[in-house]
Every structure is written in C-alpha cells, then in structure tokens.
C-alpha cells in the first residue's frame, strides 16, 4: 500500500509552462511545480504502435526552469477509463521520466479519451482513436471495476501516491448504478478500492454545478475530503450558455470561497495548484498569475499554519 507520509511538498504549486519567463518559478510564490510530461514529448510510431519520446532538450529546459523545486506529475494522456485499454505509450514514457526526474506524486483525469475505431462487427483492432476531448465515465460498478485496479497498480508501480481528478464536462444525465449514484460516488468508490487519492479540482466542481444547476455545496458534501491530497483552482469563461473550464482566466470568487471552505476540512492536502492553460498563460501575464498565486498562498498559510513536518505526520496517520 502506498502512503503519503514521505511527501515533502507543502504549499502552492503552478504548472510548468515553457513559454513563461522562468523567473516566475523563482519568485518565491511557488513551492512546487506540476509537470505534464506529455508536453515534453513527441510521438513516434513503431511498427504501428505509438511511442512517446521525451525530448532531452525540453526536459533539460524544464529542469532548469524548475530550479530544484519539487515536482508532481499531472498527466492528460493516460485515458485511465478506456474500457478496451489505456495508453501504454504514456506508461512507458512515465517509467522513463520517473528514472530521470522522480516526482512526489502523480495524477490523471477520471475519464476516457480513446475508443476503438469504428470497424465492421466482429473485426478487431489493437489500435485506438482519440475522441478529441476527454469524456466522463458513467457512474457504474463496471467503471469502478475497471479503474480501481488500474489506480492501485499505478500506486504500486512508482511507490508514490496516485491521484484521480474529478472532471468538468457538459453531459447531463449520465447513466449510473443505484449503488454508486453520481460522479462523487464514482470517485469515492474508485479511491476506496483503488487505494489512491483524489485531486479535488474545485473549478471543475464549480463548472459542473453551474452548468447542471446544482448547488456546489451539496456536491462538496459527498466528497471524501480526508482522501484529498491536492486541490486545483482555475478560471474559465462563458460560451453558448455554458461555463467552460478553460483555465484561461483568474480564479472566480466562488472558487476561492470553496478553497477557504475545503482547506480547513481536508487534513491531508499537500498542495494547491493554480492551473493555467499553456496557450492562455502569455496573455494572462506574470502580473495576474503572481496575484493569483499570492492569494492562494495567503489562504494556504491561513489554514496550514502547522509546519510541513506536522502535516506529513498527520498525512501518514490518515493512511488509506
């Protein structure tokens, strides 16, 4: 069983974005960096199979930018919920990444983004096609049975905590089993059986609440806060009557309030990350980013006055 007692991170994080000035990462506003390793890769086909090659110059540049800060992994390409197989190329790449640049924990999105290609009935293929966007899982026992062992396997594979992130999406009315109920129940069941942790994305939760007309507090009530190891905050924008999880703006006030509500009640949280989309970062600029990081730090320190060592001990005793 993987525990979180060895984690030495405690504070506010920010994604690695190659196009931002490296000085942001040395400003003292960032305690750790969230790296999406796929952004340091290029894809290659080997005999019809996909492979992800880490680009040495990109990795080296990222390491220089992070300048000794601890890192965590936030992947987007695993497709952990794909019924007919996840992305093996991602795992192979992460194995190599782990050897060259160890991380404190790693996380992925709870959902799927690849499906078998449309093919005649009875035909089979080992390849997959990308949907083009991540899609949510139905809240069913079958989904739990699929994802939980995979999550447990990832915990064991690297010996560091594995986290699943609650997704934002726009599909009302997803199927569910009575024993699981909704998406919160799905996450709870997987976290329990998969011996993993949750990355609680407050902006995603807020998006779904706004778009589905649900009280966000009632959604939050079901979350097992003692199993939350990391929190995401972010901003979004409106389009066609939907509030989008665009990571293209500052954090809205309701999400800051959610953070203030959750932090005192989530004893094992090791870090809060302000998420920004790579493409949006230059437009948002260092000034706005710095302001949001300062606010996150202010909230963090208000509710996390204990020393890092105290937090680590608390996390170890709350082991799953």
């Amino acid at each position: 069983m993987v525990n979180a007692s060895s984690i030495s991170i405690s504070g506010v994080g920010f994604p690695y974005i190659a196009d931002l000035p490296p000085e942001i990462y040395r400003s003292g506003l960032i305690d750790f960096v969230e790296v999406t390793p796929e952004s340091l890769c290029r894809e290659r086909r080997v005999g019809g199979q996909r492979a992800l090659d880490l680009i040495p110059s990109h990795v080296e540049r990222a390491r220089q930018t992070c300048d000794g800060l601890q890192i965590v992994i936030h992947g987007v390409e695993l497709s952990i919920g794909s019924a007919e197989g996840w992305n093996d190329a991602y795992i192979d790449m992460l194995d190599r990444f782990w050897k060259m640049w160890p991380f404190q924990w790693h996380s992925e999105h709870l959902g799927f983004q690849t499906v078998p290609p449309a093919c005649p009935a009875g035909a089979s293929t080992r390849d997959f096609v990308s949907v083009g966007v991540p899609l949510p899982l139905p809240s069913t026992r079958e989904a739990v049975d699929l994802v939980a062992p995979r999550a447990a396997g990832l915990c064991d594979r690297y010996g560091v905590p594995f986290l699943l992130e609650n997704p934002a999406h726009y599909l009302f009315d997803l199927p569910f089993d009575d024993e699981i109920q909704g998406e919160i129940g799905l996450m709870n069941a997987i976290v329990e059986r998969g011996r993993c942790w949750q990355l609680l994305d407050l902006h995603n939760l807020y998006c779904n609440a706004v778009n589905f007309g649900i009280d966000v507090a009632s959604l939050l009530q079901g979350v097992r806060l003692e199993r939350v190891l990391e929190i995401h905050v972010a901003g979004g924008s409106w389009r066609d009557g939907f509030y989008m999880d665009g990571h293209n703006a500052g954090v809205p006030e309701p999400v800051w309030r959610l953070l203030e509500d959750v932090l005192p009640r989530a004893p094992n949280v090791a870090g809060v990350v302000f998420e920004v989309l790579d493409e949006a970062a230059p437009r948002l600029g260092p000034k706005l980013i710095g302001r949001e990081l300062e606010r996150a730090r202010e909230i963090w320190h208000r509710y996390r006055r204990r020393s890092g060592a105290d937090v680590i001990v608390a996390r170890g005793t709350a082991e799953c």
């Binding site: 894809e43 090659d53 078998p116 726009y170």
Partner: protein, 263 residues
C-alpha cells in the same frame, strides 16, 4: 457494456451525430458490441435533446481546430485568415485534429494543405519545408559513428532527411521571420541574388536545416539508392564530406540484405 457505451459516445462526439437506433440494440452474437444496460441505452435515446452533448461537440470541434492550427502553424500562418479558417475547418470536417500528439497527423495534414493551395506558391513551398522539418525533428537522434565508414559501406538518403529547392523569395521571407517562429526559421538561409537555393533538412543538422553545397546536392542525387563509399569517392567526393552527411543523418548506412550479411 462500458466498452459499447464508450464506443458509441466517443463516436457520437467524433462524428458529431447521435447513434442510430439500431446501434443501441443488443447484438448478443457480436462479442465486440456487448449490450448496453437499460440506463445506458436510455441515455443515448435522450442524447438528441441534451444541450450538453451539442455543446460537447462544439468544444471537441474547437479543440480539433486549435490542434490543427498548431500542427501546421508556419504554413497556415502564411495564409489570409479566411483561407486559413476554410482549410482548418475542412480538415476538421474530415475528422482531423483529434490527436493530442499531432506529429503523425501533421504529415498527412500538410499533404492535404499542399493539395489545396496553388502549386509553386509561397505557401506550398513553406508547407513542404514545414513537413520536412517536422519529419526531421521527430526522428530518433542516434547517428552512426562517421569514423566507422569503410570503403564498402553503402550509403543511402536518410529516411527522415529531405533536400528541397527553395525560391530565394521564400528564403528571404523565412529570414525575415527568423526568431518569430522557432521551428522553420531557426536557421537563417542566405540565398543567391536570384533563383533558388538548395536546402538540406535532417535530424542531426543543427537547427534541422541548412543550405546545401553543390557537391552535397550531387551526393543526395546519387544516394537515391545505396551507393558504396568507394564509388562516391571515385566520383570525386571527399570522405570528410560523407562523414559530415552521415553525422547529420542526411545519409544513413544502408541495411544490407540478410543473405548478404551472412556471407
């Protein structure tokens, strides 16, 4: 059940259409299409009235368009906005732009663009340059030790290398844009006063591309099929030149047929 649910939902979003009723029916004899649960089937029956699905499709489309723009950034950047939009939308309509890692797709996309723009136009030339740059960039970096070349080593054009003839006007435009677009314009080209220049693109060339010398152009032409080092030297080419081209992966050591190797 989950497998079929995902296949139907994923295909519905990719192809922007609600599954047909017959797709929702159980096919007990078809192992690749296990039955949907009643709730899963009901979800698809209600999908046409689900505004979230329609919006999801729009989101998918915009992501695909963004990926397509990134996949052929330099080439598409040479076009007026309305032409660029038309090409991008055309590609996404054909199902393109879904891959997060677009390297493989980019090659086909650039072929598509080259077929849509006037032959010989600046955009067409830059399209081929961008395609060659991308091929060189995604190739493995390892090289043969050039010092190991013997007279009977057979050399052939590198699989990921290209030689392009570039009009001076395009080279000048690339120079003007140097520094603003990091891939294609990483290296500055110095064209002759008129006409065209020959440009080599290969994985291990610093900056991926450089101007080719006349002798190198001859070697490139000769090595369309495997040629021994001895034959190239007899034709007047220096060993040092061949070693540079091998080190840059403009040329690769040709694989000998298995039967020959055994002898």
């Amino acid at each position: 059940m989950l497998s079929r649910f995902q296949r139907l939902l994923g295909t519905a979003v990719r192809e922007r259409r609600i599954p047909a009723l017959e797709d929702l029916e159980a096919r007990p004899s078809d192992e690749s299409a296990p039955a949907l649960s009643a709730r899963e089937a009901a979800f698809f029956h209600r999908l046409s009235g689900n505004p979230g699905f329609r919006f999801m499709v729009e989101v998918q489309r915009s992501w695909c368009e963004l990926r397509t723009l990134n996949a052929a950034r330099v080439t598409l950047g040479t076009l007026p906005p309305h032409e660029r939009r038309t090409l991008v939308k055309g590609w996404v309509e054909r199902g393109g732009g879904t891959e997060s890692f677009f390297a493989t797709e980019a090659d086909v996309l650039l072929d598509y663009i080259a077929g849509q723009v006037p032959a010989g136009s600046t955009t067409a030339v830059i399209c081929r340059i961008e395609q060659a740059v991308q091929r060189a960039q995604r190739a493995p970096a390892q090289t043969t030790d050039p010092a190991s070349l013997s007279d009977d080593t057979a050399l052939v054009r590198g699989e990921d290398a290209t030689l392009l003839r570039v009009p001076t006007s395009v080279a000048a435009a690339m120079n003007a844009g140097a520094g603003s677009a990091d891939d294609v314009t990483a290296a500055r080209l110095v064209p002759d006063a008129e006409g065209e220049i020959e440009v080599l693109l290969a994985p291990a060339i610093s900056g991926v591309l450089r101007e080719a010398e006349a002798g190198e152009v001859q070697i490139w032409a000769t090595c369309a099929t495997p040629v021994c080092v001895a034959a190239l030297r007899t034709a007047g080419h220096e060993r040092a030149t061949l070693q540079v081209l091998v080190a840059e992966r403009v040329l690769d050591v040709a694989q000998r047929p298995r039967s020959t190797a055994r002898r």
